[in-house]
């Protein structure tokens, strides 16, 4: 078997890497890699190849030999003719596809959990600072389980009369209105939601709804109502108790740390 030329090996490495990234990882293992990341990896590989061939003069000469041969050698006339047609054709197709491509709308860089304000309010009444406010009924969980149960049950009622249309029977964000809302309603069964925020954060999101979000949360898109217009303060605290009771996730607390 004829020994492969350095140029061919480099070519195989380049094409092979691309196929591996695009189709093996992206297709078979199905972890799709964005085009920009693939481009970055390919750039690194090209640099590595360039570094390798420029280490020694002999290597570089070996590398460029097939190129030069193709350009001038009489034996390579067929190769030359094919390439002189193929390369311009590929470039033609590529530039055409870029120019004729139809434009797509810009994506919305939305922050799903933007930072809350420093102060927690209900309507205009200041409840306290976001960091310090705790659910006034949470302590019943230890002190008075019966009372706690009553609050959770009330939260359940509030939830099913107001929230389940979008957030779903199972609190998984899959209510019957949900599929046609953008952004999608929050999924409280997602382990990344309840344990990551304090109860005061949930109070803020419920009370102020979509319009109360900072600009990073694209307040103009969210269909979350301003619930302080419909619910009492206690109802909001109760529904928060229900959310964590039903899902089994405990909201984050800072109180003990102080």
């Amino acid at each position: 078997m004829k020994k492969l030329s350095l140029f061919t090996i480099c070519l195989i490495i380049l094409v092979g890497s691309w196929v591996f990234l695009r189709f093996v990882i992206g297709g078979i293992i199905s972890v799709p890699i964005p085009g920009s990341v693939i481009a970055m990896y390919m750039g690194l590989i090209v640099i590595a190849i360039l570094v390798h061939i420029s280490v020694e003069d002999s290597l570089f000469r070996e590398f460029r030999r097939p190129i030069l041969e193709t350009l001038v050698d009489d034996k390579r006339r067929l190769h030359r003719r094919v390439l002189v047609v193929l390369i311009p054709l590929l470039l033609l197709g590529y530039t055409y596809s870029i120019i004729a491509q139809r434009a797509n709308p810009p994506g919305s860089p939305r922050d799903a959990h933007p930072s809350p304000p420093l102060e927690l309010t209900y309507k205009d009444e200041v409840i306290g600072t976001m960091q310090d406010v705790v659910n006034p009924f949470r302590h019943y969980e230890k002190d008075d389980p019966e009372a706690f149960k009553a609050h959770v049950e009330n939260g359940r009622r509030v939830y099913h009369q107001n929230c389940f249309y979008c957030h779903g029977d199972h609190l998984d964000g899959q209510g019957h209105f949900a599929p046609y809302l953008q952004p999608l309603p929050a999924n409280f069964q997602d382990p990344g939601i309840i344990p990551n925020f304090q109860e005061s954060f949930f109070f803020w999101r419920i009370a102020k709804g979509g319009p109360g979000l900072p600009a990073a949360g694209t307040p103009w898109d969210s269909a979350m109502p301003i619930w302080e217009d419909h619910l009492t303060k206690d109802e909001i605290w109760d529904v928060i108790l229900f959310l964590s009771d039903y899902t089994g996730y405990q909201p984050r607390t800072f109180g003990e740390a102080h």
């Binding site: 006034p136 009924f137 009372a147 009553a150 609050h151 049950e153 009330n154 009622r157 009492t232 303060k233 206690d234 109802e235 109760d238």
Partner: protein
Amino acid sequence: MKSYLLASLTVLLACCFVGSVFAADSDAGEVETLIFPEKKYKPMAVNNGGTISGVVKFEGDVPEMKKLEITKDQKVCGAEEKFDESLVVGEGNALKNTIVYLIDVSEGKDFDKKTKLEIDQKGCRFEPHVQIIPLDTRLTMLNSDRVNHNVHIFSVINTPVNKQQTKNRKKMPLAAVKKAEGPVPMKCDIHGWMSAWVAYVPHPYFAVTNEKGEFTLEDVPAGEYKLGYWHEACGTNNEAPAAVTVEAGGTVTQDFTLKLK
């Protein structure tokens, strides 16, 4: 503590509200029913039986009969004006469509097999408005209209019926039922205003009052009976049925005066 009280109060209030909404609905849906004898009825030959007859009258201001809104098939259904028949009061306050019946009869005459059991759908109205149907007997629905109807009987104890009777189907017998029940509302969903009542009964001592408010129960074996009534708008006397004593060959008169419930 205050907020806790407030929360409980909210719960209470909410419960009351929800409760009241549904209570109202179930009231409207609940129908006062006839009382049927607990023991299985035994038919026998009745010789020299007595007769119970009387007149049912309405007491109170007679409300004007509500005109029904005919929403479709005007040619057939809207040819004549139609009125809500839940309270039909005739001359001298005679109350039509009242069922008068023996509550506690265990044996007596057999059903008259010859009477045709029919309800006609004519001009998009059921005729008669109240029909007594013996158990194990088929009711035949007639369609005198050249329009489609659907016969919807809202039975609870027996199997409910909802069957299309197309304009080409002049006669449609319905399966007989085995359990006493009623009165049960009958509707045509296609013509939402059409309404009637059927009662599936285990013995023949049932009568429906005519335009003059009259009823007659014949061939009643001599004895003491409780006489009940049922009316769509006026309710029943289930709480305090009338007591009548029938003598062999004699005639007892028992009139009733009913008020809106």
